[in-house]
Symmetry: D2
Subunit: 406 residues, 4 copies
């Protein structure tokens, strides 16, 4: 019996509470940086299986030490989203929150973080239950606030790297719209770097019938929006990936009053840090040039927010994990992840330690009927999703911690 | 003693209560179509001097009949504005209202309608007190809701033209930033036609990283804004007046979500009804063409609102009134009004009757220190403003009603 | 018999040769600054009637001195245009020239300068023939190269102001599409200032499939063209006249090569020197700002050419001449000139002397069937056009030189 | 001794005349569809080694039949370019031609077609000299007019597919800026589909001072140029390759005349036929929409030209050839081709037969000092370039024709 088989031999036992825990977490999502209940449940379970438990920066870490050997970190994220659930599941969330405009909206685990937590807790218990065939340290990181890109940074700023051993390798996984039972890996950039920037450009207000007494920021913003299209169309190499989206453009409130400013909310994506830097520089150059062309009375302001790092899977680590997945799941259940235009803050954790990493996907849906993340209808199949996610964590960890691999 | 001198002989008597009334009205502004208190005060005074009083469409009309002869209509508007007064006057308004966003803002007579009412009530009393030297009918119309262009229409739709005699000539006046004591006249178009239109264009929402799955309405709106500039720059004759202002452009709320629509609030001004029609057609043509260029999935919508007519002073009427003003005030106090890019709904009243009209300005400020209408600092000098406005109404009326002019 | 009647008493005599001369000049147009034949004919006639003749800067001046008194200058322009005549007149031009592209095109008096010369020669002879009722000096200036705005400047630079007496008043007239027999006057700005500018903006060439290696000047030029629209639409007061036309935009020669520059030929018009300065500054500001926005590797260049001054008729001079016209022609033949968006370099001459001036129109066509200047079908009626133009010069001159007016 | 070694055993013999031939061809480039001299040289050599020679569509084909077995086609292109050579080589071209504007320019083999011809003639002789170890048919296609995408089509339209046997596999190769001695292969799309389109949009001419009487095509073209940027920026998936370049935009010739049309020369590139179709549809949709927005009086016209097909290397064929290259050259001399944004018309030939194909690159320069194709400095090293290209043809052919592979 292989090391993996030995450790996964207890899966029937963990599956029972994992499914209940998943339904409970799904029914009780919490907002980014407000994951109190979730964190308490996790901490209790980590204690129960003998982990050293560290609460840091809104997250909680379980350290499972089992003799000498490599240190493996696996991260799960915990937060839900302000989305009103429409799945109709018996365990659908009825939690609510209040959005920026004061309206009440639902809270929902619409991005599978409930599954991430459940799988990682299961994997910790499996590893703790069967310490014989492996040695080293397994660090289970439960991170808050992935959705707004603040959680990984919060844990790091609160001292994570001095509170837990430096890992030799780090992992993350995500439930995706692939077929349940499948895992998806890929070397190199798999999730884009993502940056948001709030750009404010200034005009000079005037009555709408007297444009010559003002400087029209509505026209200025329109020129900027059109000019920003040229970054992807002309400046980035056609073979490189980049996205520049102006998701919001707002100026003025009345037809006959020229306002004194306009605000653009712009989102930038790239799979390459040089391209990212090129795009950011181009955005600022264009905005400043357009403001000059308009005779804008005040320099534009740029406020960056929701900045997600690039997720760039390490070649050797990915190859090793993929090979282990193929051996365990069979080649037909290991597919190419592809490049996903979305972004993640997972990579900040290994980057803080200077640790190589890989991040993979776990299918969650009937074949051909995947639901996009963040949809109010996001309802992964409980199985084989939880089993696959739990096994994937164990298999990847044992590729480094298994005594047969050392 | 001339007819005018006879009628104005009682000005000392009216001035006393006029100044008090003005302060009272100024302290108690009312919103458009909510001029209840103002209307009650007016109705009472009209009754007191023997007018037939007609309440219609939110306004009130006093009909002063004095034998046979011409019928002269003079209109005053009554509404205040949602502007928080900052004049520091002892009689400044402390009234408030709630704006669209739910915030509390002040209410203010920031456009001089309190003076318009006061002058017209004074003129009615003067004419009523001295019926000897004139004959005919004087109709004093107190109109609601000038600020949103709804009041004149409301009175007409409620039956004004069947409730009062058809006038032979109609007048309106407005306190402007000229020097107090001055009246300003001009033949032809003096206030522009003004139309607002809410344009909604449709895209298709998508995640900001997947623009190819959507149709970007932010880019579409930007193209429209730039293209609309060509109406004035290329389509309207350089010698014609036209303004196309996009006072507000709004789309989306987040940087990384492509919204499904964008809204433009556009204001159009012209001094010529053909130019107005040309501009309106061009706006719609451009918006439709741009939506087609964008592959917009749904036709744009155009909702017109705040539509103000052209104020186009009748040549003969203006000449006659200007001559009467020169005789009474002296040429140095009668100046050229010029073309004012603002708009008024006054002309709907004479147009409903098919009556020629003229509309003049009354200065309200120390020389060189005029304050623009709608400013929170709009505080006309009580005198000689009220006297001048009252006299102007009487002088213009007697140019038609005075027995020496018949 | 009035002074005017006395001088015009010889019109029957001049009319005979004037009509022949007109047909001859019309059949033999000459290009700007190549008016050799025309100038020789003029000089001979000026000599014949006793003028002092001065050839200067490509033009010719006749000075008719008749005792003491005011000095009046009248200017006629002499050049034809590279337009292939299509009038079908028996005296149509068969002259040709070679245009910039090497093609042969016709030469034509398509702007009436043949009539201007003919009328002024006639007027000189009339004044010379009947010196009795007037005294002073009449200066007949025959100017080259009005069409390219170079002729007036050439005469001034060649010393005109030191070669002829300083005039007290200066006149010019132009055959227009009004009804023949009519003269058209107006005080203030009547012909716009006109400036052309060749703008070159720089990109960086690249293969069309590798835009990221270049800087695309085609996109840059397009942005500039759209942004220039905002000058008239937003920056110039809606009540002011301004035109910004990009008459030519050229860049590149092949679909798959990104060129390294783009050229715009822009024409600017204004009726006010402040507006002209505002528009020119805005053009340069916009072009520079757009170049910065594009990351253009080299500053844009601006080459001004074909710069025409404003023609701004002096109020008193215009009033005096208009009154004289009314008296002679009758009020019904004196109409308002209106503002003409075209431009002239006439005003450089009086401006060089610091002399007030007025410039009027002479109708040349059957009522309602005017042909625009520069059209290949521009064929004014010989009469009453020549008579009217000749009389207008004499009448205006005698308003100052007639002994009854001194 | 392997089959390949046997056939290449005669390379010393061919090398001698190949180098001379290469210098001769380089010195005498011919324009597309005027490759008379080149074709005659080729036909003579093909005859000399015993090929059946077919002249078709401006090209020439040598058919080398050697018993039964597979049919392999290899294509070389023959045309030079209107580029003035600046290599300073002793055998540099001194040929000239006259370009569209009438100017004399040099003619140059700036794209390596001289090497392509030389290598293929060498390979034919090698195969003809040593028929023992292989059997089947080798078809050497010398194609005219690759540079303007007309040559392959011309041969097909002239009946190529009925004049030569249907090949089982087809090859092409190209000298690139890689290091000499290297071959470069890749499966899937390696050269983009390329299409040029001349777009004419119509306005209405007018004097520059009277824009309201015209429809400005300069502004229309500018709007189109900016809007076309959104195809790549917003409509094509960020992970797909597409280029939309407006290489030329021209309208008007004078600053003060609004022209009546504008012309855009647009180049489109894609690596996927669906993306190509999407881009072409988007271009037409945008142009039509913008013309409608402008009130254009006449529909735009679209004239497609220089249309290059996609070069999409067959997976199995590429794998087999790459493996043969590795065996012969060693793995270190077989590199990844990468995707090249340029285009080729080679694939029309196999597509006409329905034959799978692969197209590879041959390095031609000192390491790190590659010169881009079409440069006036394009001077590949004669060796090892010719040897490598000749061997590559033989090796790929024998992967199918070698008796050891059948």
């Amino acid at each position: 019996m292989s090391v993996v088989e030995q450790v996964l031999g207890h899966l029937d036992a963990t599956r029972a509470w994992q499914e209940d825990l998943y339904r409970d977490l799904h029914a009780h999502p919490e907002l980014s940086l407000h994951e109190t209940r979730t964190r308490a449940i996790i901490a209790e379970r980590l204690c129960a299986v003998g982990c050293e438990v560290v609460e840091v920066g809104g997250g909680v870490v379980g350290i499972l030490t089992n003799g000498t050997g490599p240190v493996v970190l696996h991260r799960a994220d915990m937060d839900g989203l302000p989305v009103t659930e429409e799945t109709g599941l018996p365990y659908a969330s009825t939690e609510t929150t209040v959005d920026d405009s004061g309206a009440t909206v639902g809270l929902m685990h619409a991005c599978g973080h409930d599954a991430h937590v459940t799988c990682l807790l299961g994997a910790v218990e499996l590893l703790a239950t069967e310490p014989g065939p492996w040695s080293g340290t397994f660090i289970a990181v439960f991170q808050p606030a992935e959705e707004n890109a603040e959680g990984a940074r919060a844990m790091i700023e609160a001292g994570l790297t001095s509170l837990v051993p430096r890992p030799d390798v780090a992992f993350g996984q995500h439930v995706l719209s692939h077929e349940a039972g499948v895992v998806a890996t890929q070397s190199g950039p798999v999730l884009s770097a993502g940056d948001s920037v709030r750009i404010t450009v200034f005009g000079k207000g005037s009555h709408g019938s007297m444009p010559h007494l003002g400087v029209d920021p509505v026209v200025l913003a329109a020129s900027i929006v059109l000019r920003l299209q040229t970054i992807v169309a002309r400046e980035v190499a056609p073979t490189d990936f980049a996205v520049v989206t102006v998701g919001s453009s707002t100026a003025g409130t009345k037809s006959n009053v020229i306002p004194d400013r306009a605000t653009l909310l712009v989102n930038l994506r790239a799979y390459d840090l040089d391209v990212r830097a090129q795009v950011m520089a181009a955005v600022e150059r264009i905005v400043r040039g357009e403001c000059d062309a308009a005779g804008s009375p005040q320099p534009p302001t740029f406020e960056y927010y929701d900045q997600f790092p690039l997720t760039d899977n390490h070649a050797d680590v990915t190859a090793k994990v993929t090979e282990a997945f193929r051996e365990h799941f069979g080649s037909e259940r290991v597919v190419a992840l592809g490049r996903i235009p979305a972004s993640e803050d997972f990579s900040r954790l290994p980057d803080a330690f200077g640790t190589p990493y890989t991040y993979w996907g776990v299918g969650g849906f009937p074949a051909g009927r995947g639901v996009p993340n963040h949809s109010p209808f996001f309802a992964p199949l409980i199985q084989p999703t939880l089993d696959t996610g739990t096994q994937a964590i164990v298999v990847a960890a044992l590729a480094y911690l298994g005594k047969d691999n050392q």
